[in-house]
């Protein structure tokens, strides 16, 4: 990770634009994606692979939902809350979605301040992102608890097709795990930023490599991906 984006010693910065530029890059030596660091390339390819995992989960859920002969529980009703005497469908999910999308905003700001080498603001914004993420997971825990109390189990539920509970716990659980891992990474990286590891090029404990602020962006890629996946889960599971 010592090599960074935008460092091309000795290389002329003039690159052909458009499709010709892509062809030129791919037929050149050393790197197919110019100005893309190893870490960033690796995260992108990982996300591509992870996309396939979530796609398979969602497609399997849709298959189950479309082929079941028993009625599918109505998500608007199941995920409704009564707040102050008002019966509001999907309110908790709406708040969760809002929280998660907001965290993408703070993450983007953190990346910006990272490249400006503003140590404190970067760390604070990353921690805010982590806090929003943790809030999301907390609300998900609340939602799980509520459904479990109402009798929803992976193998059955009071309202209809058993696959409702199975898919719900599996998909939101897998997504929640992703968010949790993201929160842990955010906190770990925020600590490094705060301590100034990337200003003094401190070496990693395991890898003995020098880190830099790009890791903020790479963590951000993962975070935005997790948010994007949630949008699909929201659309296909809750709104359908």
């Amino acid at each position: 990770m010592a090599e960074t984006a935008l460092t091309t010693p000795g290389q002329s910065p003039v690159r052909t634009a458009g499709l010709k530029g892509v062809a030129a890059d791919w037929s050149s030596d050393q790197r197919a994606f110019k100005n893309v660091s190893w870490g960033k390339a690796m995260m992108w390819i990982f996300l591509l692979s992870d996309t396939f995992i979530f796609s398979c989960f969602l497609l399997s859920y849709m298959t189950a939902r479309m082929s079941t002969t028993v009625p599918w529980p109505n998500p608007s009703e199941v995920f409704a809350l009564t707040i102050g005497g008002q019966h509001i469908p999907l309110i908790l999910i709406a708040i969760m979605t809002f929280v998660l999308i907001s965290s993408s905003g703070t993450m983007a700001m953190a990346v910006n301040f990272g490249y400006r080498r503003d140590r404190v603001k970067t760390a604070v914004l990353m921690l805010v992102t982590a806090a929003l993420g943790a809030t999301f997971v907390g609300m998900q825990a609340f939602e799980w608890t509520k459904l479990i109390q109402e009798g929803v189990r992976p193998w059955e539920n009071p309202w209809g097709a058993a696959q409702f509970g199975s898919s719900f716990f599996m998909i939101t659980g897998f997504h929640g795990t992703h968010v949790t891992i993201g929160v842990i990474f955010l906190i770990a990286i925020a600590r490094k930023v705060w301590r100034g590891d990337f200003d003094v090029e401190r070496r990693g404990f395991f890898t003995s490599r020098k880190g830099n602020y790009e890791i903020v962006e790479i963590t951000g890629l993962y975070w935005h991906f997790v948010d994007l996946v949630w949008v699909f889960i929201f659309a296909f599971f809750y709104l359908w």
Binding site: Q30, F52, A162
Partner: protein, 591 residues
């Protein structure tokens, strides 16, 4: 045109990125055990894969003993037989071939062939091996748990995979699925490394179109694996939930032992789709590295450039892409709309085009080449013949109407053992004979190698050719004892006994190979750095075996493609990739 003296700085672009400092081992542990060096990780992968592969080999002996001499070996009962086929298949396909080609050859060859010092993220690469080892341990542990390993067949089709009639329903299936999940996690960590190393960490002058085909094969297979394994991951997670939590993703309403089970509403076909969306690309995940490696073996040992390099590259990419839209040809008898059968049969047969391009190009590379019948070359030739044979029976099975009567017969077993069993193993063995000198600095013994080749090659045909005939008669696969039936002729029993004897002999020949590996490590003839006089970068390392960081002080600079063999006018019959041209032609400089 005029020839002018060559200046390296003009034609080879300068380095784009600063060199990354490597992790330097501080103790024996970090040098040989928890090593972050791709070469050590490669050997760890290879040894682990070989060890678990030997277990699968022994299982195949036990199956052959039962099939050849039914009733003679009382210690193999029907349940155990099913457990043996399951473990044999799963180990061979995933834990041996996938791990060996990508984790073993990939780790060793990619950094050396692209001119890198190591994989881009050595620490993650190390984790990849240890998670793989954990997956293998979990898998092997199923032999010792109550109820033994699962007997669901390597395809693990539900609902039978998790019902009580199937052996290993207690622990076997749970551990098998867990092991698969671990394997996929471990593989992903390694796979990301291989892809990024090829894309972003090549040396100066190494363009994608100068890569040896070995790298192209492993690279494409790794991308495929990163996109195909997710389907298996998801299927494993869901089946694990069906088994442990009582969900009904794959389980329809069932009556078992007169009892209505609590399952209901799930789709077994969904599992088949997920499994084969992984399973068919998996065939090519194993085959593409073999294609790549065999191209390099043939070119090197026939002292001739590979015929149609660009076509070979595009054929690899095309096969990789097409293999994602053929999966349901494994499901013709599962019940689907005839139009889907038509679609999947068509796509399946279209794959024959890029595959045939490759086979023709191998043959045309051999044509009028200076063929050296070294052991790696013998295995490469064995591969081409075997692969063509196995591919031709694939044409039968790819067509719906022909596949339906042949489904679940020994014909299918013979087909895939030829095409994705014997053929890739031929390449694995040839590749080991080819690169062993680079790994150890000593040659493998030639006489033992030739003996090993001929017994393996001829033996494989003696085993699997009669099996096609059994399949055409209608002998079903996965049967513990086929017993007496009108369509089972006496020749079936004779042939079964014959095949079993041959299988034991072929298995024993592999012991000669293992002995050769050990013996040559200590007593083999010193090989020098480039015994095959090959052009690719791994043979040009300053040390053999290559040291930490591969290249000494300076990274190599690449000036040419990987196949400059027998170039007219050249001093030697090979020009290494890192040898600068002495002159270069400039258009329009003369007159």
């Amino acid at each position: 045109m005029v020839d002018v003296p060559y200046e390296a700085t003009v034609d080879v672009p300068p380095a784009e990125v600063a060199e990354v400092e490597l992790y330097h081992p501080k103790s024996w542990w970090t040098q040989y055990v928890f090593s972050q060096d791709a070469k050590v990780i490669a050997i760890q992968y290879s040894l682990t894969a070989t060890a678990i592969g030997l277990v699968a080999l022994v299982l195949s002996w036990l199956m052959r003993l039962q099939l050849g001499f039914p009733g003679t070996f009382s210690f193999i009962d029907a349940s155990q037989y099913l457990q043996f086929i399951t473990m044999h298949g799963m180990i061979m396909v995933i834990y041996l071939l996938t791990a060996l080609f990508l984790g073993g050859f990939g780790n060793y060859l990619i950094p050396l062939m692209v001119g890198a010092r190591d994989m881009v993220f050595p620490y993650v690469n190390m984790l990849s091996y240890w998670v793989y080892l954990l997956a293998v341990i979990v898998l092997a542990s199923t032999f010792f748990v109550p109820g033994g390993p699962t007997g669901a067949g390597w395809t693990l089709y539900p609902p039978q995979a998790i019902l009580s009639g199937t052996p290993g329903q207690d622990w076997g299936i749970i551990l098998m699925l867990s092991s698969l999940i671990l394997f996929i996690i471990g593989f992903t960590m390694g796979g990301l490394n291989y892809v990024v190393t090829v894309l972003q960490a090549r040396t100066r002058g190494m363009t994608l179109m100068r890569l040896p085909l070995t790298v192209w094969g492993i690279f494409t297979a790794t991308i495929m694996a990163l996109l195909a394994f997710p389907a298996l991951f998801v299927a494993s997670v869901m089946m694990l939930f069906d088994r442990l939590l009582g969900t009904s993703f794959f389980m329809p309403a069932l009556v078992e032992m007169g009892q209505q089970m609590k399952y209901g509403g799930g789709s077994p076909i969904l599992f088949q789709h997920l499994f084969w969306f992984f399973g068919h690309p998996e065939v090519y995940i194993v085959a593409l590295p073999a294609f790549g490696i065999v191209s390099d073996l043939i070119s090197t040992h026939a002292r001739k450039n590979i015929f149609g390099y660009r076509m070979m590259v595009w054929a690899i990419v095309a096969i990789g892409a097409l293999s994602f839209i053929v999966w349901a040809h494994h499901m013709y008898v599962s019940g689907m709309h005839p139009h889907f059968g038509f679609f999947f049969a068509t796509t399946t047969l279209i794959i024959a085009i890029p595959t045939a391009i490759k086979v023709y190009n191998w043959v045309l590379t051999l044509w009028r080449g200076d063929i050296h019948l070294t052991v790696p070359m013998l295995f490469a030739l064995g591969f081409i013949i075997t692969f063509v044979n196995g591919g031709l029976t694939g044409l039968f099975l790819g067509n719906v109407v022909v596949d339906v009567p042949l489904s679940d017969t020994m014909f299918v077993v013979a087909h895939f053992h030829m095409v994705m069993g014997v053929a890739p193993i031929m390449v694995v063995l040839g590749a080991i004979y080819h690169w062993y000198p680079k790994v150890t600095g000593r040659m493998l013994d030639d006489w033992m190698g030739k003996f090993h080749f001929w017994v393996t090659f001829l033996g494989a045909y003696l085993i699997f050719f009669p099996m096609h005939y059994l399949g055409l008669l209608g002998v079903p696969r996965r049967y513990h004892d086929i017993g007496e039936a009108a369509f089972i002729t006496p020749s079936v029993h004779t042939l079964n006994a014959f095949m079993s004897v041959v299988a034991l002999i072929v298995g024993l020949a592999q012991m000669v190979f293992l002995f050769n590996l050990v013996w040559s490590y200590f007593k083999g003839r010193p090989s020098g750095g480039n015994p095959w006089r090959a052009t690719t970068l791994e043979w040009q390392t300053p040390e053999t075996p290559p040291g930490h960081g591969n290249w000494g002080k300076e990274l190599p600079v690449v000036y040419r493609w990987a196949y400059d063999y027998s170039v007219p006018g050249a001093k030697e019959d090979f020009i290494p990739q890192n040898q600068p041209p002495t002159t270069r032609a400039i258009q329009g400089a003369a007159t």
